[in-house]
């Protein structure tokens, strides 16, 4: 168990090499991957999120912790799949049509993955048809829309409207975020939620899939 504390610390401190090495030795020692994920790794990323919210961590610290989480996840993922483990939820994420920016979207994706979600990253300049396709083929629970520009924010409403027109709006949760996006705007366009930053996106996603 002492070793597992090292994994927790390695993720919180962004030490990817140690996180990977400890995950490998834990798996080799027979520690159930689900236990590693749920009792060590996700709580570690939750702590990273808490530190970010408290202004003790900033973007670099978030990124290196997310990298450590990713390296450890790569070790345990095949074992999770083999054991039939299910993610906290599936999220299709993308930057909306007309917008090429991806830094914020990538940060949110990294934090959601660290929070136990499976991420389907649709990239940038993503239209409603691609989000609908992801919903239909990947059984996603949440669609996450990102925009950096005031001029591309209206695409968020168009995507929500397309989900309505397709008759599937009530089958999936849609969350929005990005520099110009506000909670008020999210409400106006009929989104299910708005996140101020990458860390709070995890809390929001959990609440929407009932995993909070």
């Amino acid at each position: 168990m002492e070793n597992l504390k090292t994994l927790y610390t390695a993720i919180v401190e962004g030490d990817a090499k140690t996180a990977k090495a400890v995950a490998e030795s834990a798996i080799a020692a027979g520690v159930p991957p689900q236990q590693l994920l749920n009792e060590i790794m996700i709580p570690a990323m939750d702590e990273v999120g808490r530190l970010f919210e408290a202004n003790e961590y900033f973007v670099p610290e978030l990124l290196i912790s997310a990298r450590a989480m990713k390296w450890a996840l790569e070790v345990i993922k095949p074992h999770l799949i083999a054991g039939g483990a299910q993610p906290a939820g599936r999220v299709a994420i993308g930057t909306v049509k007309g917008d090429l920016h991806d830094i914020g979207k990538n940060l949110v994706a990294a934090m959601l993955e660290g929070g136990g979600f499976e991420i389907i990253d649709l990239g940038v300049d993503v239209g409603a048809d691609q989000f609908l396709e992801a919903y239909r083929t990947k059984q996603v629970d949440i669609v996450a829309l990102s925009a950096l520009l005031t001029t591309t924010m209206p695409s968020m409403k168009q995507i929500i409207d397309e989900f309505k027109a397709a008759g599937v709006r009530d089958k999936v949760k849609i969350i929005v975020g990005g520099a110009p996006v506000t909670a008020e705007y999210a409400g106006e366009i009929g989104a299910d939620g708005y996140s101020e930053n990458a860390s709070s996106a995890v809390t929001l996603a959990r609440s929407l899939v009932g995993a909070g």
Partner: protein
């Protein structure tokens, strides 16, 4: 009072005839859309809108020299993949003004730094300046006693350019994986800036301000923790600002962007005393609040909520009246925060300028008229 004298007086809280009437430009789409609303195609916006003369920049090259060749790698219709002059591979819109998306970076680690960047950052490279004759001509213009526009000397960047060379994710990793490399890059950038400043200022140029570029804050705050900023960047900012002050340049502007609250006291500590542009954003950046908190040592540029320009005349009136006392106090040049977006009707912008000229500009006859189609077309 000319624009040069007015800028100096404004930034030093000295008596002045009125505030400078300036803007921070427009999104590329804005001027195109405005053509349907009466803006003359191809016109010079400063002439059309009757702005005071913008500042001019002086000095040598404080960045990479030589730059990388700009190469279009792939044409994707509305966008193109390009190797930029800074070595980053980006996808950028061909027609719309926006921040390009970074796809790959030449700078990755210590080896690529040594191979491709350090040789382009030799502080004493004479090619950072033009040939003798051209330099003499420039010096003559910059030192002309009757120069009537503000002159800013380029003072470089300690984080922003390195972030662009690496990309945000990689530079964030480098700071932790190889901190000595990051420190070496910051020190090198400062060395280059100081060498170029010494030569330009030593040749007698006395600009009204120095201009640095960082773009290092976003809607959530700084891209670097205040602790790392203080430990790694502040000592080198101090070297640069000390050089400037030896030559009497006491206004040091940083192009900062975003939610800057956590970095303002550290920039002030480092001798960087003018934040530009104050972005209002959803975090409510407010020049009045900044002044109340930091006092007159902090100068400000920007801070006019661009969304208010779209909201209508009453909202514009309220914003102009709200900022008027700060304009009157000085140390503050109001401009729409970070370029006028295309959802602002031209009529609203013209109204904003009329009101700005009337209130902040005191309606003086030395203001240029707004909407001068004839003057603008002369420049076409």
């Amino acid at each position: 009072m000319n624009a040069r004298e007015r800028f100096h007086a404004m930034m030093h809280y000295l008596p002045r005839d009125r505030a400078p009437i300036m803007d921070f430009g427009f999104w590329a789409e804005t001027l195109v859309i405005w053509q349907d609303q009466g803006y003359p195609a191809g016109a010079d916006p400063d002439l059309f809108f009757g702005m005071d003369p913008q500042w001019a920049e002086c000095g040598g090259i404080v960045g990479l020299w030589p730059e990388f060749p700009e190469i279009v790698i792939k044409d994707r219709g509305a966008t193109e993949v390009v190797q930029q002059k800074d070595g980053a591979i980006v996808e950028r819109g061909k027609f719309l003004g926006s921040i390009p998306r970074h796809l790959a970076h030449t700078l990755q680690d210590r080896a690529t730094w040594a191979e491709s960047y350090a040789p382009r950052l030799r502080a004493q490279d004479p090619l950072r300046f033009p040939g003798k004759a051209t330099w003499a001509m420039l010096l003559e213009e910059w030192t002309r006693p009757d120069r009537d526009y503000p002159l800013f000397i380029r003072a470089g960047s300690l984080y922003g350019v390195a972030r662009n060379w690496f990309g945000l994710e990689r530079i964030s990793e480098i700071i932790y994986d190889d901190r000595p490399l990051f420190e070496e890059i910051v020190a090198t950038l400062a060395d280059v800036s100081i060498a170029v400043l010494e030569k330009t200022l030593g040749d007698g140029v006395r600009p009204e301000a120095a201009l640095m570029w960082e773009d290092m804050c976003y809607s959530g705050g700084p891209l670097l923790s205040p602790k790392l900023f203080r430990d790694i960047l502040v000592p080198h900012y101090k070297r640069i600002t000390a050089t400037l002050r030896r030559y009497g340049v006491d206004i040091v502007i940083v192009d900062c962007d975003g939610k800057i609250d956590a970095l303002v006291p550290l920039w002030l500590e480092a001798g960087v005393n003018t934040m530009f542009p104050i972005e209002v954003g959803k975090w409510g950046g407010d020049p009045v609040a900044f002044r109340a908190r930091y006092g007159k040592e902090l100068r400000l540029i920007g801070g006019v909520d661009k969304h208010i320009l779209a909201a209508g005349r009453d909202a514009i009136d309220r914003e102009i009246d709200r900022l008027a006392p700060l304009v009157e106090e000085g140390g503050y040049i109001p401009t729409p925060d970070h370029r006028v977006p295309p959802d602002v009707p031209l009529a609203n912008y013209l109204y904003y300028l009329e009101r700005a000229k009337s209130v902040w500009g005191r309606g003086l006859p030395n203001l240029l008229p707004t909407g001068r189609i004839e003057a603008a077309l002369v420049a076409v």
